[in-house]
Symmetry: C2
Subunit: 254 residues, 2 copies
């Protein structure tokens, strides 16, 4: 005893939603407001010392999240694991909300324990742009051929070298990624593209969307998707779709 | 001739959509960015002199529009009436879009010629607040009793003194307004309240929504709506719903 009482250390997992519009992405950087830094500041207030937050997905500037996850080591014994969401939400700005919290095994790591990520991309087929939607989807002035888009999407599934769909400054060690599922479907007036994979290269989802929409506009055959993947040539793929339509929807663990 | 050639004067009507989040409402005021001033500045650029814009509805700070209308007198002969939308959109910031333009009779006035306005109010029944929706609806943590809400809405229809539902600083000469239709319906995951009337008192739609949701929560009988209207007592009505959920949907002319 004598003040040497052992403090209880817990590993806490958070589920997080945010509006990416006013953030320079997830990851802490020198200049610009980030989601990671915003939550770390709130955690520091609760813990009275700095806390490092591991995020599952490093979303870019303008990209949103409905199901981001993150984990941190806590010694705040006064806060029950299931109450971190309320404690944090009372401090956080309104463009970030903690939608759930709980204790996880000490070996859990939000990024390295994740087995799959699902991204959603919201397309809005419209003649006139709607100002209230401008930061939350990609407004495209035409109707889509959904069956053809789904033929393309099916060609993405499987383990491939996705170099042709990576951003110019991609820093990942391996260009191979395993896509579990990919499809387009109508939802609430939007056309949504859902893609699940073990992980994604930098700007991969947005490059895929930009490319598939260009192929569909040109009425290209579905085999063109495999040709582009196999070429490994970014120049053969299409432009990168805007960040505004992209949402980190879910991170899955075993 | 001798430079005395007569200039052609036309009356132009605009249809306007805007995201009200970063505006201090429609009407020009000394401090703060307004929609009217923003469009007037763009019109001044096109005309090389100041142009006054008459709006149909003076929306408050944070209130959105999908179908606001406005009119102005133009001597810009080089711009066809149906092209003002494109000319203005190339100048305007992205949170305002002109969705249509055309020439109207010289007697047309966006505000005084209007015979009806339709407002939509977007409610989102959810347990957890979604950050991307925070400025575009009212997120209420419960499910709604839609049949009961529609029983209330039906009691609003007709010509009534709506003093009980007016804002504290309402400056309208008469408190009588004629409500043509009012109903709640589900749309794209939202519960939408649509109300059409000849005109509305200040904060009237938001006072109605705040009141009807309180009545529904308390399971009050539908006759309570008429009692509140007839009392003329703002204190008997409920709180004012947030501006974020309100949209000026449509302005109708004969």
């Amino acid at each position: 005893m004598n003040g040497l009482q052992e403090r209880k250390i817990r590993n806490i997992r958070l589920t997080i939603a945010y509006d990416g519009t006013d953030f320079c992405g997830w990851q802490v950087q020198k200049n610009g407001r980030t989601v990671q830094e915003t939550i770390e500041k709130a955690l520091e207030k609760l813990h009275k010392h700095p806390v490092f937050l591991h995020g599952a997905g490093r979303t870019d500037s303008g990209v949103h999240a409905t199901g981001q996850t993150a984990s941190f080591i806590s010694d705040a014994e006064n806060i029950p694991p299931g109450k971190f969401n309320l404690a944090l939400n009372s401090i956080l700005p309104k463009d970030v909300r903690i939608t759930g919290s709980g204790e996880v095994h000490p070996s859990f790591h939000a990024r390295f324990s994740a087995v799959a990520r699902t991204y959603h991309y919201y397309l809005y087929p419209s003649g006139v742009r709607h100002p209230v939607l401008r930061n939350y989807c990609w407004q495209v002035k035409r109707q889509f051929n959904l069956p053809l888009l789904n033929d393309y999407a099916a060609r993405l599934v499987g383990q491939h070298d996705f170099t042709a769909f990576s951003g110019p400054r991609n820093e990942d060690k391996s260009p191979f990624r395993n896509i579990h599922a990919a499809s387009f479907f109508p939802m609430n007036g939007f056309t949504v593209f859902s893609i699940t994979g073990n992980a994604f290269l930098w700007k991969m989802v947005r490059s895929i969307i930009g490319t598939l929409l260009e192929l569909e506009y040109k009425k290209a055959g579905p085999d063109r998707v495999r040709e582009i993947i196999e070429s490994g040539n970014r120049a053969l793929a299409g432009s990168t779709a805007p960040a505004t339509g992209l949402y980190l929807h879910k991170v899955s663990y075993t």
